[in-house]
Symmetry: C2
Subunit: 554 residues, 2 copies
């Protein structure tokens, strides 16, 4: 069935489908917050819209509301003071199932069209969302705008494109005509209907609620499933704004808005677990800790479960033709959002005998010192530093930072920076600690936050072997290698393919190992313990719907 | 990387890929056992090849062989007396993993090319396989040839086509060029490598070892996974022949033949469970009982598990414009291979007030009587009857047949037929028992074999409601409806889509509800308890491989 929203966005969809097959650069949502792109006054208006939300009940009318909930605190200091509907799960899920009953019949063009219209309106709210993301995750404003706005929207659109690309291959009908020799052929008319799994649950994380939340949300919605969004208790607002927009678009398109609902809850309660085990929930998308992800994989047996958990990201330094470039690049990777990215490097392996560089042979300590100086240089100017570091998102990061200082020799100590605009913000610079290869019990665990280990190994071969074990045992979302030797690069590729981790080679310029671009980079592989799925590929969407056929003699 | 076997079968592959998108009739493997198709003497030669296997050690040289195993008995009477290698699992899996290491690097064209060559040689062995299938499953010869030969080969090719269709969408490389305003663009060269999951396990069934086994076998093999084939202890031979051919082709293509291996075992031991839980096994394809399928889904957590279990298939009779045609069609559906098909109807719901037909209004008893007479007529001639019924595959079927006779009023009693050619064969005609709608505890369970219940309901609406509950609670692979009323057909389609079961409407001609044609019909939906996957769709193949990328500045 055609749908006006589908027609409105058909060009974008076609280009997106082309992009996922080419995997070159493409982005329909501009990442520049410039008034030339988003319009004069858009930035100011977005900020004002955000500020008008503070201290109030969030304007979201949902059924089965039994009270209010919400206690978000900005990593920049203030309490948001926003409250959200608290849901009675039994009654809310009944309303969701009722909404699902008509949504499921609307068909792929409506599902995809409505999804694309939602994304397009989310894009227009990018400034409002950027402030919401900044003040829940602690990201600096530009990152909050880019990663949480257009880049997250790209990831959402990518999921819709994959969903459409798979669904469009199922013909609505077919005539089956089997020859019978001299007799009349057997003729059947067959109809193939795409039906969704049911109700999907998206469990949001505290650091990238939209970037990590949109792929699952839109993959499920675009394949006809209703979606219940359960944000992290300290990052509710970005997903609440998302749900508000989704409900507006659904209502405008004549659908029951309960196709997309929000379940906000207080920290420490069991809402995620309770929801994930409900028989109505047929799909779960999760980003968060390894423990919670494994629990879901183990227990939510009635659902398809897609998880992105934690990992220990790996850098192998063998040699380099551009030591300054390497240091500059790695320094940014370590400092960006205070290392609070699931893709940030943690372990940097350097042979204890040192490495060959364009500046001559440098010893292990020289490399560690170079990295320390690179980070220092990057963060010299406090005003610039806070725009790279953002703010520390949780007390856990601070505790780990303190604990990590005594693990080995400190190559670069963490410093506190006073934020000029937000004096209450907790801003900490990266800590770099030197370890020996024997400290496996330390460095094979994840130390989430601005904590980096420079680890002395016997050789690059050993570095690769340790990195290999680390990915197999603990998972990783990224691996990087620096080398001037083709055989080392080849071997690194072999290891990466063997253990299933994305590899970046000799990054010295303006692309960082932490970055994963929609339509081009697969985020996660689903082949190591860090994630059981990739964002986004065919496997991520193809099982969210089923095909039910009926046939009759023609 | 190109591969000569890929080039050899490229045309077939392209037509197969086209076929899975059109879903009209297509079959590359002719189903007619005629000498005009398979060549003069092919039938005789295949029979002789089969007979030469009897009473001997099967010619399969595998590593880690510690002895012999095998105790197959033909449902037509004789013991096959064939023995197969008994494997030491630790050592066999080590050999499989070693083979997998080079196979994984060969790439999609080699995986697909070798798979297609294997299928093409299996096709040439169709007569040998037909006898092997007949004398393990009890199917009559023509069904054994068609369903176990060309139709199974079609299903295997379909899986290869889906695998290729998904893999070919991943570009080997891409240039990513992101504009930077007035500055030079950022340029990255990216490489995308398709890597298999690891080692796959195929657990074969006793009734359709090739038809149900080939989709998983070829879906895994064509995506680069090594495959361990574990046949049912009474249907080893068809899969042993398959494995022998696969190993020949692999060796000829320069690969380690241990990419495909056989693990035969005695009835009653725990080989399936032991294998399924091995950490090396990353994929399991299973066809068999609900209990075993659920056990795998529950316990084989290290693997992707695809199951086809049992179900209770449903027929709703509301009215018909062709009573004779309906009866003729249903009679064949009930009698084919003595109802030992996972798609055979079990429950036929008829309103107790009767139905409108082209022969006037017929009461409930008239309908049951009509069906009984239809089956009787079909099986009147014993020589023809045995070609429809085949032989009873297991003692369980006989026990259930006996037990079912006392469940209600017998509309048609089961008879014993003496097989002219194989006097020791156990041949039984279908039993039809009349039940009331209150007998849910009886008819909602699966009674595998030639056992049919004609169930009196208040109305067609009630028939549909019971069928709905049955599919949700117990699963079904097929549902059929007979009605002259559009609203009933519409409602039946709605129910089928709601509970996720394939529906056949008013079948009165030469197509039967039991039949599922490759490239056109999806077998199973994955949306009800009878199966967690469909044969075959994108979801069935897309997660059997992963993509691992590496990138560097261009």
């Amino acid at each position: 069935m055609p749908h006006p929203f589908f027609d409105r966005h058909r060009d974008t969809l076609e280009r997106a489908v082309e992009a996922i097959e080419r995997r070159g650069y493409w982005s329909p949502f501009p990442e520049s917050p410039s008034p030339k792109v988003y319009g004069e006054g858009a930035a100011e208006q977005g900020k004002a819209t955000f500020e008008a939300l503070l201290g109030k009940r969030f304007a979201l009318t949902q059924p089965a509301t039994t009270g209010e909930v919400g206690n978000e605190r900005s990593p920049y200091g203030m309490r948001l003071g926003i409250t959200y509907p608290k849901a009675d799960l039994d009654r809310l899920l009944a309303a969701v199932e009722a909404a699902q009953a008509t949504w499921r019949k609307a068909g792929p063009q409506a599902w995809v069209g409505v999804s694309l219209e939602i994304l397009s309106r989310i894009n227009k709210a990018s400034f409002e969302l950027a402030h919401a993301i900044m003040h829940t995750t602690g990201q600096a404003f530009v990152m909050a705008f880019q990663a949480g706005g257009p880049h997250a929207q790209d990831r959402g659109l990518e999921a819709v494109a994959y969903a459409w690309d798979q669904m469009r291959r199922i013909p609505e009908r077919a005539t089956w005509e089997k020859p019978q020799g001299r007799n009349e052929p057997l003729r059947m008319e067959k109809h193939f209907r795409i039906v969704p799994r049911g109700v999907a649950l998206v469990i949001g994380c505290s650091t990238f609620p939209t970037w990590n939340g949109y792929p699952g949300l839109f993959a499920s919605l675009a394949t006809g499933n209703a979606v219940v969004v359960k944000p992290h208790p300290n990052a509710i607002l970005p997903l609440a704004i998302t749900v508000r927009i989704a409900r507006e678009v659904l209502a405008e398109a004549g659908f029951d808005p309960n196709v997309v609902t929000l379940v906000a809850h207080d920290a420490g309660d069991a809402t995620a677990q309770t929801l994930a085990l409900r028989p109505e929930i047929k799909i779960v998308d999760f980003t968060g800790s390894t423990a919670n992800g494994r629990w879901l994989e183990e227990h939510a047996r009635q659902a398809l479960v897609y998880t992105e958990k934690a990992g220990v990201n790996q850098v192998i330094v063998d040699s380099t033709a551009d030591f300054k470039g390497m240091v500059r690049n790695l320094a940014i990777s370590l400092a960006l959002y205070s290392g609070q990215m699931c893709t940030a490097p943690q372990n940097i392996y350097v042979p204890m005998g040192g490495i060959d560089t364009d500046e001559g042979h440098l010893g292990f300590d020289d490399v560690a010192k170079g990295l320390a100086e690179g980070v220092d240089r990057l963060l010299e100017d406090p005003a610039r530093a806070v725009e790279v570091l953002g703010a520390v998102q949780s007390d856990g990061v601070l505790r780990r930072l303190e604990a990590a200082r005594s693990l080995g020799t400190i190559a670069l100590d963490t410093r506190t920076i006073v934020h000029g605009q937000f004096p209450e913000a907790t801003v900490r610079t990266p800590l770099i600690v030197k370890l020996s290869k024997a400290d496996r019990a330390t460095y094979l665990n994840e130390w989430f936050g601005p904590i980096t280990f420079v680890i002395a190994t016997d050789s690059t071969a050993e570095s690769l072997a340790i990195a290999r074990d680390a990915v197999i045992g603990h998972g990783a979302l990224t691996m990087a290698v620096y080398s001037r030797r083709d055989d080392v690069i080849e071997r690194a590729i072999e290891v990466a393919e063997d253990v299933g981790v994305a590899l970046s080679i000799n990054l010295t310029g303006g692309v960082f190992v932490n970055q994963s671009a929609a339509f081009s980079d697969f985020h996660g592989t689903g082949a190591n313990p860090a994630a059981n799925a990739a964002l986004t590929d065919a496997a991520y969407v193809a099982n969210r719907f089923r095909v039910v056929q009926h046939r009759a003699h023609a």
